[in-house]
């Protein structure tokens, strides 16, 4: 090992207690940043996963204009989607797909009426693209053998004071402006954990929806679930040329601008919080190095006297800071990633805040997540801050006048 590297390394440990305190502070700071990133990424993942798995999927095929104006006139004929469906069936990136008829309508009981989103589904396919089947907490999922059944959310059930077996009437506008209606019986109650969704969405059979809306082979959307969300753009781009005129292929990013915006905004708003950790680290580094240099003034004077260049002295001080940051990175990342991994498996219980969180699409248990890129970013920032903030103490050491420094005893 080069003598200068050895000097820099051993200089750190001259005052072991001080080095330990600084390292503890830096490790705690870095672990804190990683945990904070874990909470943020976990929350965003949870929100996105919730949206994708309850309703949105990764890619949606829709009649032109339906995304901006979701009225039944903007539905699409499935007869023209043969090539698209063939491609979906043969693409290994596609996990599942299902057709839906989604319209706004009115749900009426003798005592209440509510505007809700009516979703007509194909149960055998829907169970693979969304969590609705597994979210049924009472009664049973829809079945093609049992028409005129309706699934409602737990929250809606509570508000309507209507449970299993009770009747409800659905009404919605048909193509052409006529009003269609159907009497349904509640066969199941679901709870997705997303309060807003559960309160405003009901599920019926696609065939019942078509009958109520006087449709033949039309649907309003085909939802596609992929194995990897990162393939969304590529799959959508490859489907677009196969889609007939009058059909749009949209990714979740186009469908969920709120989540995209939230993701961007969260990343931006978190920067000041990360900065607090790093500023605290920076002060610790500057303070420690200044104290260390103060204690070594005589020695630095001797080194300058015997011919050491000031640039070499700067390098030694910066190397000390670099070594400190490396230790902090190894230990801090291990602790931070350890905490995130543990809470990623066991989750943080947010039951106390559940009523507010469920409207944001987040469940009662928050599972922390962190990407390798996130950990790399936090580690790189620690090293960069350490090097940047060692420049001032290093320059101060290099500016020492040898003859004055040598007079300093100790």
């Amino acid at each position: 090992m080069s003598i200068l590297f050895k000097m820099a390394w051993l200089n750190i440990w001259r005052n072991k207690r001080r080095a330990a305190i600084l390292l503890c502070a830096m490790c705690a700071g870095l672990a804190g940043v990683i945990v904070l990133m874990g909470v943020t990424e976990g929350w965003i993942d949870e929100m996105l996963e919730s949206a994708v798995r309850t309703q949105e999927g990764h890619v949606k095929i829709m009649g032109s204009g339906f995304n901006d104006n979701p009225v039944i006139e903007n539905c699409m004929s499935t007869e023209l989607l043969g090539k698209v469906y063939d491609r979906l069936d043969s693409d290994h990136r596609v996990a599942a797909w299902a057709e839906r008829v989604v319209v706004q309508g009115l749900l009426s009981t003798p005592r209440h009426s509510r505007i809700i989103s009516i979703t007509g589904i194909d149960p055998s396919r829907e169970k693979d693209v969304s969590i609705i089947r597994s979210a049924v907490v009472e009664g049973s999922f829809l079945s093609e053998d049992e028409p005129n059944r309706i699934l409602i959310g737990q929250k809606l059930s509570d508000k309507l004071q209507k449970g299993l077996g009770k009747k409800a009437v659905l009404m919605s506008q048909q193509v052409g402006g006529e009003l269609g209606s159907s009497a349904m019986r509640i066969s199941g109650i679901f709870n997705t954990g997303n309060g807003s969704f559960d309160e405003n969405t009901v599920f019926i059979l696609k065939s019942d929806a078509r009958q109520m809306l006087n449709l033949s082979n039309q649907v309003t959307e085909t939802v596609v679930l992929l194995n990897d969300i990162d393939d969304s753009e590529a799959v959508a781009a490859e489907l677009a040329p196969l889609a007939p005129q009058g059909v749009d292929i949209l990714t979740w990013k186009q469908r969920l601008p709120f989540i995209v915006e939230t993701l961007d905004m969260t990343n931006r708003y978190m920067i000041p919080f990360y900065a607090i950790f790093y500023i605290a680290m920076a002060f610790g580094i500057v303070n420690t190095l200044l104290m260390a240099i103060g204690e070594r003034t005589h020695e630095i004077g001797v080194m300058l006297a015997i011919g050491m260049t000031r640039m070499r002295l700067v390098k030694i001080v910066m190397l000390e800071s670099f070594f400190i940051s490396l230790i902090a990175v190894v230990v801090g990342c291990a602790v931070g990633v350890g905490i995130v991994t543990w809470y990623g498996q066991h989750g943080i219980d947010l039951t106390a805040f559940a009523s507010g969180l469920e409207y944001l699409g987040v469940g009662k248990i928050l599972y922390l997540r962190i990407s390798a890129a996130g950990v790399g970013w936090a580690a790189a920032a620690t090293v960069a801050i350490s090097l940047l903030f060692s420049i001032y103490p290093a320059a101060k050491a290099a500016r020492l006048v040898p003859v004055e420094a040598i007079r300093t005893i100790g």
Binding site: K6, L10, N11, R14, E299, M303, T309, R312, I409
Partner: protein, 227 residues
């Protein structure tokens, strides 16, 4: 041939609102191979003179030439290079880098000169043998006595074969027996290597060992005696 030529140098510095005249017109010539002690009471200017000769401090007036290099007008970078190549230093105490071993301390100046590591290691071990500390090569300064540390400092000062070794009160923190052994070593190196030594001291033993004694008083040369 003169190695060091000091011509009518003055050194003044400010101490609060008063101007202190540390040196008041010193003229001195030191030849290669001399073993010179600059003696005098505290405040006489002996350490200041050594600092000026080494270029660690700047003269207020006058000229100093070391091995034909005009120190008075040299840049800081040139002075640093001059000290590295032509001057060996031994200070009063705390000469060594405490985190490095004796061998690494001796290697240090060679490292700064860019000597390859294999050669550095060989020369530093040879030099430690010569100063009688071969078996202490891997010890750190904190595990050595004050006398041993000063001998390591001497080894570091001479390992690069400088033109002159400047020693500022090298025996001040040593007992007389240890000081005597250190001076024996430097005297031997002076004889064997024809290396020039200049001491600042108020230690009578150093004065006895020297072959030339320059006495300073109030910043002036009071006497200059060759033995």
């Amino acid at each position: 041939m003169p190695l060091i030529e000091v011509e009518n140098i003055h050194k003044e510095y400010e101490d609060g609102k008063t101007t202190v005249h540390a040196l008041r017109g010193i003229d001195l010539t030191i030849d290669a191979g001399e073993f010179t002690a600059i003696a005098g009471p505290s405040g006489s200017g002996k350490t200041t003179l050594l600092n000026l000769i080494s270029g660690l401090d700047a003269v207020s007036a006058g000229n100093i030439t070391l091995d034909s290099v005009d120190i008075s007008s040299a840049s800081a970078r040139k002075l640093s290079q001059l000290r590295l190549e032509k001057i060996g230093f031994v200070f009063q105490a705390y000469n060594l880098v405490p985190v490095l071993t004796a061998r690494e301390n001796v290697e240090f100046t060679m490292l700064l000169q860019g000597v390859p590591s294999g050669e550095r290691r060989k020369r530093s071990l040879d030099m430690l043998e010569r100063v009688g500390l071969g078996e202490y090569a891997d010890r750190k300064p904190t595990a050595m006595s004050g006398g041993q540390q000063q001998r390591v400092a001497v080894a570091r000062a001479i390992v690069t074969h400088p033109r002159v070794v400047l020693a500022d009160e090298p025996t001040a923190n040593l007992d007389s027996e240890t000081g005597s052994r250190l001076l024996d070593l430097m005297k031997r190196l002076n004889a064997e290597e024809d290396m020039t030594f200049v001491f600042s001291t108020h230690d009578p033993m150093v004065m006895d060992y020297s072959t030339r004694l320059v006495r300073l008083h109030d910043g002036k040369v009071k006497s200059d005696e060759r033995k």
